[in-house]
């Protein structure tokens, strides 16, 4: 009964404390809360990429919900009678009519529509960059294969979100996209026509597809995505973060900031910055001006019709693939369109999803890893990644080859051939180049560890030879060679990185510190060369005449 008396030690003394205590009595939240607040997050900017994806998803949910208040996902024919004069009296679907209404007759509607669209582009982009970070640093290795695969599934779902989303306004551009989706469905061998009739409820275009895409876009896919995001984060918390190698960082710890207050403040700051960026783009940079395209009409199309950026690579592969229908006995056909769309996309995402297993098989490395790798230290993986990336970017650029041909006055056919040849030639070249660059960087790291940092100080030896003085990074052996081993962490390569220079005087427009004060402070800290600056004499490095390497400078 002691806990009930007001004088008990540790009893809450404020109203807020009492309320918290009452809540904890009922819910027993404090163990969980303390664990959460104490959780350590590694402090590196690249860990924020996934968060950007999460925050743009939240923005998408908020702005998307707003849009549903006004959007009418129906293909019923109506005659436009809104504010936008050039389209008045034109027959169009109710979907396009309401999308125009959102843009012109809802206060702030255009802003919200554009905010939603920009957030969607940022969403997919941040997922892709996040994925690249995970890939190139080897964060997908055991025990994180599950989370990698979940991530790939979420990327595919994000693309489906995009496709179903930008098809909704039923303007000329999105209708053309829909027509291509219909053709891709039809191209699937055996079940293609059945799949098309199931999705479109008949021949193209029917009266159902906008409504069906709408429910997929606002309910089905977001619900699955939300569940997968929850799972992704749960696994992340369970497995704890990876971290880059460095002082005090091991496979069995995480070094960084605790959630509260540092990490929480930074993450909240990032939420606002991402939201602000989307809002700025949504207000200031026009995107998808649907009123310029006009309503969908199967007999019309505009040139330079490109999808949103994340579908561009499939558009490119479709443009480049040669006209190879495969005619099978019995008058069956596998349409050429099947390969660059269904097969290419399917193969790319399948290989991506099972890459952790492929690498495990090839390297035989089945151990658990919590320390990240620098891309240069795994040249084969990095080169494979560069190869895949160059293939992707090449296809993506080919998705706009008509625009390139037009702007640079190049023959369109030449662009197609450049694309076809490049698709085969560029990835291996990217592989080789990346591999060589990785080896070069590795070598340079070792060189600096062995010989020290180039100081830029040129000395003339008594025999007339000029040498550059090198600053060793640690203890040296009899020959003046550094004895530090490479530990997978960045090697300092400039004197500034090892505190060889004074720290900069603080202040943006004018100094806010006393330079002499800083100087004294630096000397007090014994910071690098700055501390010894005063009493350093310039001497020759005493390099042996027989061509030995430069030794540690005397200071």
């Amino acid at each position: 009964m002691a806990a009930r008396t007001a004088t008990a030690p540790g009893a809450p003394t404020t109203k807020l404390g009492e309320a918290a205590s009452e809540l904890d009595d009922r819910m027993i939240l404090s163990p969980w809360l303390r664990r959460t607040l104490n959780k350590v997050y590694p402090d590196h900017w690249s860990f924020l990429l996934g968060e950007i994806a999460l925050y743009s998803f939240i923005i998408l949910l908020l702005s998307g919900t707003y849009l549903t208040f006004f959007f009418d996902a129906s293909m019923r024919e109506v005659v436009y009678d809104g504010s936008y004069a050039p389209l008045r009296g034109v027959e169009m679907s109710a979907a396009y009519d309401s999308a125009l209404g959102l843009s012109f007759d809802v206060r702030g509607g255009l802003f919200m529509r554009q905010l939603h669209h920009w957030a969607a582009l940022l969403f997919v982009a941040s997922i892709v960059v996040h994925l690249l970070r995970i890939f190139f640093t080897g964060a997908f290795r055991r025990p994180r294969e599950t989370n990698w695969m979940l991530g790939v599934v979420m990327l595919v779902l994000a693309l489906l979100m995009g496709v179903t989303g930008y098809s909704l306004p039923d303007d000329l551009l999105s209708g053309t996209g829909l027509r291509i989706i219909s053709a891709i469905l039809l191209s699937v061998p055996v079940i293609g026509t059945w799949a098309h009739f199931a999705v479109f409820n008949g021949d193209f275009v029917g009266e159902q597809i906008i409504g069906r895409f709408y429910i997929a876009h606002v309910l089905l896919i977001p619900a699955i995505l939300l569940a997968l995001i929850g799972l992704h984060l749960l696994i992340l918390v369970k497995q704890k973060h990876t971290q880059f190698p460095g002082a005090g960082r091991t496979e069995h710890n995480v070094v960084g900031n605790r959630l509260f207050p540092t990490f929480a403040a930074k993450a909240t700051g990032l939420v606002f910055v991402v939201f602000g960026l989307c809002a700025l783009l949504g207000g200031l940079v026009q995107i998808n001006p649907i009123w310029l395209w006009g309503p969908y009409n199967p007999a019309q199309v505009s040139s330079a019709s490109q999808p949103d950026w994340y579908i561009g690579f499939l558009d490119g592969s479709t443009r480049l693939f040669p006209p190879w229908d495969i005619n099978l006995p019995g008058d069956y056909t596998i349409p050429a369109l099947f390969w660059p769309t269904v097969v290419v996309a399917g193969a790319m995402f399948t290989v991506l999803a099972i890459y952790p297993m492929i690498e495990r098989k090839l390297t035989g490395d089945t151990a658990s890893h919590h320390l990240l790798q620098r891309p240069r230290d795994v040249p084969v993986r990095t080169a494979l990644g560069a190869m895949a990336l160059s293939f992707y970017v090449w296809l993506w650029m080919s998705g706009g080859n008509d625009v390139i041909a037009d702007k640079f006055d190049i023959s369109l056919n030449a662009m197609t051939w450049v694309g076809r040849i490049g698709m085969i030639v560029v990835p291996p070249v990217a592989y080789l180049l990346t591999y060589r660059i990785c080896l070069g960087l590795q070598q340079h790291d070792r060189e600096v560890l062995e010989h020290g940092i180039e100081t830029g100080v040129i000395r003339r030896l008594p025999n007339g030879e000029f040498i550059e003085v090198h600053q060793p990074l640690g203890p040296v052996d009899d020959h003046g060679h550094g004895t530090l081993a490479y530990g997978g962490a960045p090697v300092p390569k400039r004197m500034n990185h090892v505190g060889g220079a004074r720290r900069a005087i603080r202040g943006f427009f004018r100094p806010i510190e006393e330079p002499t004060q800083v100087e004294l402070e630096q000397r007090g800290e014994g910071r690098g060369l700055a501390a010894a600056e005063g009493d350093r004499e310039l001497t020759s490095s005493g390099r042996p005449v027989d061509g030995g390497r430069p030794q540690e400078p005397r200071d």
Binding site: V40, F104, V274, D325
Partner: protein, 370 residues
């Protein structure tokens, strides 16, 4: 304490904890905890969560010039964020009230053209400045601490004991022995699964019934009309020109597969005209008509370059030669654009001699069979 309180379960908290109860509450009495400073308690709790604070770089000294400056900066940033947030409200609410109307007219370049950009600018700056303020706050005022948390591998003990409970439960159920139950369960699960997905069958429609993919609205005697519904006579078009035509049926100009290009060839094109086999009589004089729906992915092919006799599809750059039966000459398309057989009716207007003799639009699996 009255009689009611002596009944079991009515005294709340008076119970003696079970023998398995333990943990920090046994190690630290409330008096001990009360004697510790807040920082000590923080460290102690962190220790229980496997976290050690290695190093704390305290923020600027209270009252120092650095601190004052940082506070001024951060205060300014948050204030500005508030200003922009209120500006957003003013622009949003005030337009059409004490500010000009926000409805945009196509010719206008005043306030209504600025409305959306101003909304974006205000909200964007407000939000971004809050973020900037928070980051500045973290960087300039909060102590920078470096913490390290242990990472535990799975525990062998947990694995073995959990496994024993799980396997024991299954073992006690006797499902391994009671084969009839397992088999009937499997049968039931299969049936239930099928039953639950069955309603999706409502989505399935037979694409081969009535050949909807292979037919269009065109038929013998159906006139070729323009988008506005006017019929076309030979001679209406200039040589070398192209016109998009539709079947003269209700809603013909909205049909997905019916759009057709009527092309009047130039004399030299007529000379080099090599129709596809069996389609020599599909043209009418120097007029030919091809489906406008690309045989690759179904986009409307619409860019006609009459000097080279080529039609280009803007989606994937397939090119078709109109003098060779619209056969694909470049790009990813594999099949010629289907040709519409042309005739002239009694009143001298163009009509179709029949529907297309093959399926228009993209290729599919059993296209050749129906």
């Amino acid at each position: 304490m009255n009689a009611r309180d002596t009944r079991p379960g009515s005294t709340g908290g008076a119970d003696v904890p079970g023998p398995l109860y333990g943990g920090p509450d046994d190690d630290y009495t409330p008096e001990q905890l009360a004697a510790m400073s807040r920082e000590e308690l923080d460290r102690l709790g962190a220790h229980y969560d496997g976290v050690e604070i290695l190093h704390v770089d305290p923020g600027p000294a209270p009252g120092s010039a650095m601190e004052k400056r940082a506070i001024r900066q951060i205060g300014l940033v948050f204030t500005l964020a508030g200003v922009f947030a209120f500006l957003f409200v003013v622009v949003y609410v005030g337009s059409g009230w004490f500010l000009p109307d926000w409805h945009w007219e196509i010719t206008e370049s005043g306030w209504s053209a600025l409305f959306t950009p101003l909304l974006g600018l205000c909200m964007g700056l407000a939000m971004a400045l809050v973020g900037v303020g928070l980051v500045l706050f973290t960087k300039k005022l909060l102590p920078h601490e470096t913490a390290v948390q242990d990472k535990h591998d799975g525990s062998h003990f947990d694995r073995v004991t959990a496994g024993a409970t799980l396997v024991g439960g299954f073992h006690n159920s006797g499902l391994a022995r009671r084969k009839l139950i397992t088999r009937s369960l499997g049968f039931m699960a299969g049936g239930l699964g099928l039953m639950l997905i069955m309603p999706l069958g409502g989505l399935i429609k037979n694409p081969n019934k009535g050949n909807p993919l292979g037919t269009t609205e065109w038929a013998k005697g159906v006139r070729l009309v323009r988008n506005d519904g006017t019929p076309i006579r030979p001679g209406d078009q200039q040589p070398g020109s192209l016109e998009t035509v539709f079947p003269a049926v209700p809603g013909g100009n909205r049909q997905a597969d019916a759009a057709t290009m009527l092309i009047r060839l130039r004399p030299e094109q007529v000379q080099s005209l090599t129709p596809r086999r069996g389609q020599a009589d599909f043209a009418y004089g120097e007029y030919v008509a091809y489906s406008k729906i690309c045989t690759h992915a179904g986009c409307p092919v619409s860019l006609y370059e009459q000097e080279t006799s080529r039609i280009l599809c803007p989606c994937h750059q397939s090119q078709f030669d109109v003098t060779q039966g619209a056969k694909p000459v470049f790009g990813p398309a594999t099949r010629p654009l289907p040709q519409l057989p042309l005739e002239v009716d009694g009143e001298g207007f163009f009509v179709a001699a029949s529907d297309y003799i093959e399926a228009v639009g993209p290729t599919y699996w059993n296209r050749e069979r129906i």
